[in-house]
């Protein structure tokens, strides 16, 4: 089976780097720099995160983007040749939903690939769940998965869904 390149995108603090660190079976390539703005954490990704994971026989290359809009040039760089998109959003930060929706539109218009939304922090209520987030984003519920990015089993769920969607699209074409 060919390896699948998957882009992990989403607003700052959504849990992109955390998810890749949680899941990767190989040493993660990260590019953290000290955060000079108040973003609720000490460091932030400035170029990319990279990790790999097997889901069954399927090898996935995970490419995480930086979260801040000023790094938007990296979205196109990292999306080149991607076959799937995982968009992460923090379930306890609904103010991020509108920019995240714009990001989803942008990325899927540039690279029309199967996508899944991962709604993080499901272990820390009060938090928006998939059934509340799906209508907000106007996407089918099957494309929205609630996760805890620090838990390996939970964090793998949206990727499993994504691989299923990619397989279904391939079968249909």
């Amino acid at each position: 089976m060919e390896p699948l390149k998957v882009v992990v995108a989403g607003p700052v603090g959504a849990g992109k780097s955390t998810l890749i660190r949680t899941l990767s079976e190989t040493a993660v390539v990260d590019t953290d720099a000290l955060a000079s703005e108040d973003i609720g954490k000490p460091t932030t990704t400035v170029a990319m995160d990279y990790g790999t994971i097997h889901l069954g026989d399927q090898l996935l290359y995970l490419f995480g983007t930086p979260g801040q809009d000023r790094f938007d040039f990296m979205w196109d760089v990292l999306s080149e040749g991607a076959l799937g998109l995982l968009l992460l959003i923090r379930g306890d930060r609904p103010e991020d939903f509108v920019p995240a929706r714009r990001l989803l539109d942008y990325l899927t218009s540039r690279q029309p690939v199967p996508y899944v939304l991962g709604v993080t922090r499901q272990d820390q209520p009060p938090v928006w769940g998939p059934e509340e987030v799906a209508p907000f984003f106007g996407v089918p519920l099957e494309r929205v998965v609630g996760i805890n990015a620090k838990d390996p089993q939970s964090a793998a769920k949206p990727l499993i869904r994504l691989v299923e969607l990619i397989a279904a699209e391939e079968a249909a074409s």
């Binding site: 390539v29 990260d30 590019t31 953290d32 720099a33 000290l34 955060a35 000079s36 703005e37 932030t44 400035v46 170029a47 990319m48 930086p66 801040q68 000023r70 790094f71 040039f73 990296m74």
Partner: protein, 118 residues
């Protein structure tokens, strides 16, 4: 003298030392402009932070030791990014016929001074 004034002073000195530079941007390592003379500073600052962050990681991963600088060379010029301590980035743009050795010599010492202030 405020931090900003000190940094502006260093920027001016660097311009005098290397008049051939097209633009200079000092940014935070997370990509926000601090002092600069570039028209497109926010964008250049973000890209400089990306280039430096990725350069550091490549340098580590491929056993090159501590990163000295990241160089982008186009057929019409150079864009060079230096680390200015843990928190800062110094990015300069120069024409293709510039003396890169001289730029490194000056820029590295200015980067060290910037690091003291940042």
């Amino acid at each position: 003298m405020t931090k900003q004034e000190q940094l502006q002073g260093i920027l001016r000195e660097l311009k005098q030392a290397l008049p051939e530079l097209r633009s200079i941007v000092v940014a935070s390592t997370d990509g926000l402009p601090i002092v600069h003379d570039a028209a497109d500073a926010p964008r250049v600052a973000a890209m400089a932070a990306t280039a430096l962050g990725l350069g550091k990681r490549i340098s580590q991963t491929t056993d090159l030791g501590m990163l000295e600088e990241t160089i982008v060379r186009g057929n019409q010029g150079y864009f060079v990014v230096y680390a200015a301590g843990e928190k800062g980035v110094l990015a300069v743009s120069a024409p293709a016929d510039a003396n890169l050795g001289l730029i490194h010599l000056e820029a590295r010492s200015f980067a060290a001074r910037l690091a003291q202030i940042l």
